[in-house]
């Protein structure tokens, strides 16, 4: 397995990230882009669930497990949307949906962390998409920190989800046949710096 190569590439990228080391308790984490994905689900004409994914993203996380505080800032490259069906991808990138030429990125910023014991149970923040910023709360269905044997560092992460109404961001094409509710499933892991 060539994982060490990937690990060293990630660590090199992480060390270039320029995080301050001065914070006493708050640790900085860099998003592991290989284990961080947004997958969306939307019902197709009342029949079956269509899914897609955004492949390019970057971000940083500050997290203090003792004080139970943190900050998240993630940018998603909207042109990296992929469903497996090229004409569908092109439609989604166009003006009817994400209009990626005018709005190439979406951004999730959060500084509200809810805990259930030592585990993050929800994250409250804002999602900026199509030039509009709206509050969102991601519920955590799973959260864990572990020592990653490849990075030899602590990794924290989990599964998060939220159902958004796309119309709140001005995305109204095809309503109501193409539903307003879109479920976002977020896998996230971040490596301690």
């Amino acid at each position: 397995m060539k994982k060490p190569l990937l690990a060293s590439a990630l660590l090199a990228a992480a060390s270039l990230n320029g995080f301050g080391t001065a914070q006493a308790q708050t640790a900085s984490y860099t998003l592991d882009p290989t284990h961080t994905f947004v997958t969306w689900e939307a019902l197709h004409l009342g029949t079956s669930t269509s899914r897609g994914r955004f492949d390019k993203k970057e971000g940083k996380v500050e997290f203090d497990r003792t004080a139970k505080t943190g900050k998240i800032d993630i940018t998603i490259d909207m042109a990296s949307i992929t469903t497996g069906v090229a004409p569908f991808d092109n439609h989604l990138k166009g003006k009817d949906f994400f209009d990626v030429t005018a709005h190439p990125t979406a951004r999730f910023q959060a500084s509200g962390f809810s805990f259930d014991g030592s585990k993050v149970s929800a994250v409250q923040g804002t999602l900026t998409m199509l030039g509009k910023t709206q509050p969102v709360e991601l519920k955590s269905s799973r959260f864990n920190c572990y020592e990653n044997p490849f990075f030899k560092r602590e990794v924290c992460g989990g599964d998060f989800e939220v159902t958004i109404q796309r119309s709140l961001w001005g995305s109204t094409y095809g309503l109501p046949g193409i539903p307003d509710n879109v479920r976002l499933l977020v896998q996230a892991e971040a490596i301690k710096q």
């Binding site: 284990h35 197709h44 004409l45 497996g84 069906v85 864990n144 920190c145 992460g157």
Partner: protein
Amino acid sequence: MKMPLMLRAVLPMLTVLSVLLCASPAQAQPRQYALDPARSWVQFELLHFGTSTIRGRIGPVQGQVTLDPEAGTGELGLRIPTASLSTGIPFFDARIRQDDLLSTSAWPEAFFVANRFRFEGAQLVEVRGEFTLRGVSQPLSLRALNYACRTPGPHEPNPDGAREVCGGDFEAEFRRSEFGASFALPFVGDRVKLQVQVEGRRR
């Protein structure tokens, strides 16, 4: 997407008419559907270090389904192009194609063949059959979550002139070790969850 007012008024009447026509006993025979490649995909989920869920996509799934809801029977044969897998990380995709995981050189496709369909009323709730992955066959049960049929609307693209589209979401679970795909156990979980989107078009 806005429907003309006239059409909106007439549509319910047409729907009632078509239901009456379809419900005639002469129609009670198996219906054949071909999977729509734009709407027939497998998503798999695996747990990474007990922490977060890895997801990947395989498809489009190809195949035929025959259904007789009145008799409560059906059969299907699906081909799943495992070599097409996509996780969003090309390095992972290449690794998963290797011999100790999906072994796609030797086994470029997985198969699901089933003839045990369970209906509750007209609603399909479960399909049981045989799943073949890496050349290993095991029984597998797919639970139907959403299942619905629709008549393509006047504004829905319908290049093949389908009379009816049926489909839904199906879920299944298996242990990859039972199929010999054992690399990275236990860091990456043994349990694989499948979420299958399927729409079949009746010509």
